[in-house]
Symmetry: C2
Subunit: 239 residues, 2 copies
């Protein structure tokens, strides 16, 4: 099978590793166009599961080593799935909005937390790191297979298409503390770039929130801030 190192222009992306591949086969099999097994892959139970789903769906499976040398630097990757890159429209439900995110691993970690806390819709405002980068998919542990995702040229474009959510920008100088803010559904939790945060004009949008912390650090890591916000906003759903 012809495989090339991933680039943003590539027509397909890759799920690397058995856990991530199984998430796609179980939750978005329509996006999986091929599965590649490493000749030394020996996990019988997983191979059987892969065979069953790919058989039902008519997804081709091959066994070859070369794609692993091209796509994976990790030593313990024995399965690859070739994935169609396709955005899915957001539901009119709770959203997370990432404005100008710059790190693929961070985006994947945030997707994992979104799915963990039952928020299945992610809006990305450009310029932004590539949602379909295999690093995003891997950091999400495959949760990317479950999330609806749409990319927008500007925050205004997002608002025009989805005007119905209560807006909560997270900012270091947000006017209320997270603990003291009632987050009303459907919400949009909005986060800025890793290094620069949200532009200051988000102070005039919705209800800006701060996650209070001590002076020992400048800011929380972005996936940490987003996950604390998700935990707080959804805390009573799971019991």
């Amino acid at each position: 099978m012809k495989i090339a190192r991933y680039r943003k222009e590539s027509e397909v992306t890759y799920a690397l590793g058995a856990t991530v591949v199984m998430e796609y086969l179980n939750n978005a099999p329509e996006l999986v166009t091929a599965v590649i097994l490493h000749p030394q892959f020996r996990a019988e139970e997983t191979i059987e599961k892969i065979s069953r789903i790919t058989g039902q769906r008519g997804i081709p499976v091959s066994t070859e080593e070369k794609p692993f040398n091209i796509l994976s630097q990790k030593e313990n990757c024995f399965v690859i799935a070739v994935i169609t890159k396709k955005e899915k429209k957001l539901d009119p439900a709770d959203h997370v909005v990432l404005v100008n995110p710059s790190n693929a691993g961070n985006m994947g970690t945030i997707v994992r937390s979104c799915i963990g806390f039952g928020v299945n819709n992610l809006a990305i405002i450009k310029p932004a790191v590539d949602f379909f980068d295999p690093k995003t998919i891997r950091a999400s542990m495959g949760a990317c297979a479950r999330i609806n995702v749409e990319t927008f040229d500007s925050f205004d474009d997002y608002l025009r298409k989805y005007p119905g959510n209560n807006l909560y920008p997270f900012m270091l100088d947000g006017s209320t503390k997270l603990q003291n803010t009632e987050i009303k559904e459907p919400f949009a939790l909005i986060f800025g770039n890793e290094a620069t945060g949200l532009p200051s004009d988000f102070q005039n949008i919705g209800s800006p929130i701060r996650i209070e912390h001590g002076s020992g650090i400048d800011s929380l890591n972005l996936p940490i801030a987003a996950s604390i916000a998700l935990y707080s906003a959804t805390g009573n759903r799971f019991s």
Copy 2:
């Protein structure tokens, strides 16, 4: 200056990048044995700050390119500090305990959250990734300079030395939800390995807590879980 790629056996470690170096110079200058500037480093204000502290402390400063080629793969690293590896005794206050952590970046992210939420004491139970790995230090954004850290051969060794903390192991099947648990100070928030979590015998230690999430993911990312716990346990300190 003679610089070698970092190994666990190395007698010194390295802070890479201006932000991280400044954290060490400001908060643990006694651990800084040398500072190296890249010949192309041009941030006058930072250079002045570095000169002032290194001058007061008699820390040698050199300007040379080679150490950057050896130590840093990042393109935007222009300052390196050489750091003495030295643990600092924990205070009889709130602790985070990491049992068998395996990823340096995760450990650094957790240290950043600890310092952010005012928990200045980290116990590490072996086998564990190296606290002094430059990757840990860099992921902490330099917060490693502020934390007291001790490594123990076993959790029992930790308990013998610090028997006074209320113990809260975080487990997928913990008996109470985080939202419903009153975390009493001084606390020890205890977290297991990234892949395997805490051994099941922690069910019989202190008050095991779970962070409830949906079935869409197997577990939260470790730094995410630890940071949500820190946020909850310390939520009323910052205002």
